[in-house]
Every structure is written in C-alpha cells, then in structure tokens.
Symmetry: C2
Subunit: 408 residues, 2 copies
Amino acid sequence: MKIEVIVIGSEILSGFTINTNAAFISQELLKEGVDTHYHTIVSDDAESLRKALVEALERSDVIITTGGLGPTCDDLTRSVAADLFDSDFIYHPEIEEELQKRYGNKLVSARDQATLPEKAEIIKNTLGTASGLLFKKNEKSLYLLPGVPPEMMEMFSKSVLPRILSKISPEEKKRNVWLHFTFLIESKVDPTLRKLQKLYPTIEMGIYPYRGKISVHLSGLIHDQKGLDACRKVLLEEFGKYHYESLSGKIEEAIHNLFSNNGLTLATAESCTGGTIASRLTVLAGASQYFLGGMITYSNQMKTEFLGVSENTLNDTGAVSEEVVIQMAEGVINKTGADYGIAVSGVAGPTGGTEKKPVGTVWVAIANKDNETTSWLIQGKKASREMIIDYTVNTVLGRLYHIVTRSL
Amino acid sequence: MKIEVIVIGSEILSGFTINTNAAFISQELLKEGVDTHYHTIVSDDAESLRKALVEALERSDVIITTGGLGPTCDDLTRSVAADLFDSDFIYHPEIEEELQKRYGNKLVSARDQATLPEKAEIIKNTLGTASGLLFKKNEKSLYLLPGVPPEMMEMFSKSVLPRILSKISPEEKKRNVWLHFTFLIESKVDPTLRKLQKLYPTIEMGIYPYRGKISVHLSGLIHDQKGLDACRKVLLEEFGKYHYESLSGKIEEAIHNLFSNNGLTLATAESCTGGTIASRLTVLAGASQYFLGGMITYSNQMKTEFLGVSENTLNDTGAVSEEVVIQMAEGVINKTGADYGIAVSGVAGPTGGTEKKPVGTVWVAIANKDNETTSWLIQGKKASREMIIDYTVNTVLGRLYHIVTRSL
C-alpha cells in the first residue's frame, strides 16, 4: 500500500513555516511499521492543488492532506477535492449546532464550516472548527485534515491511523531498527554497513549524520527479522561505546531517561549556547524530575556573580577557555547542589572570532559532585551560528551520557 | 518559470529529520521575487527517485534536488540522474587531486567522488566532498546538490541562484509584502483581507497563524505594486498596534533589533519555558549586545536564591502565580542591572495541572528598571507542552516589543 502526504499551504512552500505536519504523520506510521512513499508540498491555489491531487491519486493508494480546510479566503482544499470527486455540498445543521455550542455566536463561519461535500465521510474535529473529510473511489482513499497541528494530530491518531492499519497485513509491515550514536562519523560506519548489506541484501540500510550525531536505520519485512537482529548485534559490538538509547533519536531523551531513572540531578551553565541545552532538556515532559535549573551567563559579571568564576581567570585566559568552563561547571554544582553540572563557553560567530580563537571554538566541561571534571575543546568548525550551537549541545549531552552510564 | 525542489532522503520522508533544505532554497528564491512551485520529498531508493525526477521534469522547468550525492551505499542520486540523461561517467583527476589536497589520504572515496556523469556541468563544492551537478535538456535544468546544509547553502547561493535569476525577467518577478502581528487572531484579519481581495483581485493573499503570531502575505507582479502598497497601508492602519517589524517574521528578531538599536539591555527569568526565551534570542548573531543573561529557575530554591523570590510568597500562592512572576521579573533586574526583565512561570504539562491551575496556565511578567511591571495570565490552552512553551515565548516577546516601542 502506497501512502502519500500532501501538505497544502504557501507559507510552507515559501519556506516561511517549517513543515512539521508531514514529519508527524510519517513518524506515527513508521512506529506501526508503515512507510510513507511520498511527501508533496503545494501552494494553496486551486490549480496547483488540483494537479497535485490528480497526480497523487494516480501513484498512491492512500493520500493524506493537511491544510486549507479553514474558513478563510485562502482555504480551498474542500472545494477542489469535491470537484474532483463530483460531489455537491450539503449543509449539516448538527455540525453548526455543535460549533455554536462550543464557540457561541462569535463564530461567523459556523454555517460555512458545516457545509461539506456530500460524498465525503466526515472526520470529527473536537479541537477546532474544520471537519476532516474522507473521499473514496476505486480502492483509493483521500483524507483531508486541517493544518493546525494539534487538530491534525488528534484526528490523524484517532480516526485516520486506525483505518489505515486495518487494511495492512502483518506481512506488509516493516520491521525497523534505529541505532543512534554520538562522537562517531559516517565514514567509520559505512564500511561495516556495506559488509552487512552484502550479507543481507533485502534489508534497507541508511546512515543519517546530524550535527554531532549519527543514526543508522535498518528496515526489512517479516522474513528479515533474523538479519535485522544480526545487523543490530554487529553494529553494537563494533560501535557500542558511541551508542545511546533513545526512541526519538534525540540525545536529550537519552539524558532525560538516564537521569530520571537513576535519581540523578543536573544543572547547566551556558554561555555561547545561550539556554539551548536547558531548552532542549526542558521541552520533554517531566524534566523537573532531574533538571534543577540553569544559568545563562552571557556577561563576565554574571559568570563571576552567579557561578563564582574568578575575575583573575577571566582576565588571564578570557571567557572562552578551559579554566573558565571548569570553574563554571564546578560553580553551578556548588550553587545548586546538582549531581552533575555542564558548562559551555565559546565563539558561536559569525563575528567575535580571533586568530587564536576562531569562530567555532567552544570549550566544554562536565563536572560531578565528587569534583571529577572532564573538559574538552570543540575546534573551529566552518558552520553557521545555529549549527555550532546545535553541534555543541549534541556532543556535550552525548559525552555526559557516556560519562554517567560508565559511572553507574 | 516553474521551479521545484526535490529533497532526497528516507530520514526526511520518515519524519526522523525535519526538512529545512527545501525551506532554505524557497526562502532565498522568494527574497528575489521568485516562487517555488512544488516541494517533493522522496526516499533514496532508485525506483522512487527515478519516478520523482521523471514527473518533475514533466511539470517543472527548473528542478533542484538535495541529498544522495555522498560516497556511502545509500547515495544514488548521481547514477539515477545519469541514467535518465543517458550519460556515462568519466573520471576527473583534477577533482581527486583537489580532494586529496584538502583531506589527504584518509578520504577513501576520493576516486569515487571524482567520477562524475559526462553530460553534467560540475558545480564546485568547497566545503565537502560531493560535487554538485547540472543536467540540461530541452530547456529544462536539473541541479543536483548535496544534502549537508552548509554545503548545499553555499553552492545554491553561489552557483545555482545566479543562474536561475539570469533567466527571469523583471516582469516575471513577484513583489512580496509580509506583515507580522502578535495578539491578533486570524478571524479578525480575514474580513479586511476579503474586502481587499475584491478591490485587488490579482493580488494573492494569505494569513498564516502560528503559536501566538499571525503573518499576512501579499504577493503580486509589477503591475500590482500600487495595490500592494495600498493593502499594506490599510492593514497597518487597522492592525498597527499589533504589528512588529521583522524580516524573518520571528518576533525575537524584532526584539533583537529594537534592543540593539536603542542601547537597551534585557535579562530573563524562566521557569516553565526552561531557557527557550533565551535560546531563541541568543541564536541570533550579536545577541550579546543587549542580552545580559538569564536564569532558569526550575526549583523553588533557585527562585529564592538567585532571584530573591520570597519563600512566603512561594508558600502562599504557589510557584505559578502573579506574585511570583512579578518578583522574578523584578529580581532578575536587581541581580543583573538590565533595563528590562522577563519572567515566566506556568504549567506546561502534560502532567502537573490542577483544577485551579490546569495545564496551559502560565503567568508572565515584564518589568523595567523604573519598577513599572506588567503581568498577565495565559489561560489553559489545550495543546502540547512544546506548543504551550512556544505560544508563551511568542506572546511574551510580542508584549515586550509593544511595551518598549511605546515607551521610546
């Protein structure tokens, strides 16, 4: 069964909004062993939309669209789809009633939102005003969902995913293995994967490097299960020391579980990463279980006042130095009583670099309560500010993961 | 001229990696007044790739692909494209030499990376190992670029964009107007846009709400210039008080410019947003000009110790309360000497909510040096933790923007 996602909206096509809806749908499908075959993003004009739907109906069995179902002037998905399926519109008084119950009379578009294509099955939206729609014809299914993420997510998980899964046999479902590593580069893993590919030619293999991390993806059908297990074993034997355990692939998830499960606490002292370490950790639910807090000490004065970094050291070595990050990491433990402290100070650029400390020079330290402190230098990478920050966050959390797992 | 971007990679199609390459390319094109017509994301197997290229060559004039040019086993773009254009491969000793100059003998794939389709023009990659390629046939151009963002970005900006622009006449170029607002909802703007659409039917109009912000996009050709100016004027007259000035549409960019240009300083005290305000501000180059630092006080102890929040208040009202955020905002000014202080404390969920303070309850305060403090409550929105955090960050920065601009 070929599944395609079509995201409708000029704001995504123009690059103004990053497309997360398609990723969500494909992730949910993948968890159930179902691949997505195609993503398409089209603008919300009628002509492009119509063409995209026609092409998708030719090449895919199930098409899920998001966006363009709202009441405003640029929302055309309903009418374009209705036209394709030769459907008239009918008014559903019970939907208007339900909308008025929820929103009162302030919803001027209630009647419009309750007028829907006759030939479509209606998918209930309990969070917003736009109903989802399901059109069927010649074994093909076209699901139309709203673009607002919480609405789309709930409707997909509750109404669309179960319908798709009911039509897929266990033999069709993919078995997926994901392995995640830090401090490992693609060219080290590639020879091993090539050897494994020769041994197990029916297994699909991919390596995905991303800002200090690498993920290896293996995928096969039911008869590949033994091969998948064998590949997994070989990769862990060879690269186990770089491996971290995380369902999402996010290193912060690995840290979250490691600290929560072992009753450990963490605090952060960030300069050039500017709160990104803390932000990435705390966006995960339950972070308060282990994360005590953090300081973003951009100015030298704050480094001294809040973390106890010596003014002399700052004057002698500058804020971007091994001495300073060690004092920051130890300082944040002293001030908060955390089991582990992380400190980062660097030149994230694009300006502020010098010959001795070019853009991308980042000093990092990890300390624990017993005054065991590890520090290291990330060397000037030619990359954007955002990438330098992300690379730093991923590698410092990766190193923390390995330090803590080995100490348990 | 119809332009299409094809992103190649199972990690993107599976939702594992968020697709930022397509957004970058479309944003760069849009800045020059050129629309992207289509985005497609396909997996890196030969069959899907071939089909996607064939379809794209039928519907678009210029196709830009990213990904699948590396030396590893899952990199197939080169060979699939060469096959489509009936091209043999030839070895370029000068490219291997250049790669060896840069990487020495450790690059085992140098010969492979120097063996390229004969019929393609080579696009130099100064940051990585994979050359870009340009195939041409019957007025259609197919550009192949690597998927690694810094390499792709440089090659696109230096080599691809100028070639595309040289073939587009001024008459074909779009004029774009973007207006960004906070504290404004879509249904308030829609009636005005509908009126404007009737007056200026050739102008394309769209409204894009996103987590506490709204962007309005107007787009037209050279003869629409007067209409675009008139629409802009109407929208600013009607909704000016919600407007903020930002090229990227990011409210943090508006804050960045406002504070930097006026010599003001800012510090943050975050609880439930966990460093996201600071992170969003400091990812912009030059943030140290105005951002002094911040505290992420997850625990009550840290709120008291670092910000001077009264223990009695914490006991009486709880950490999520108006009294506490006011003390946090005033405390962070006292401790850092900043001109403005922001404080946030709330229940980001999904757990931790109570009947009185359900998930989504967030108290926010903005203080200035003269002890003028504004505080308000964000009411429990039914949304994910990540969305509650983002919504809070966008609205608190939006309010700060309006408070500061009115005080100048």
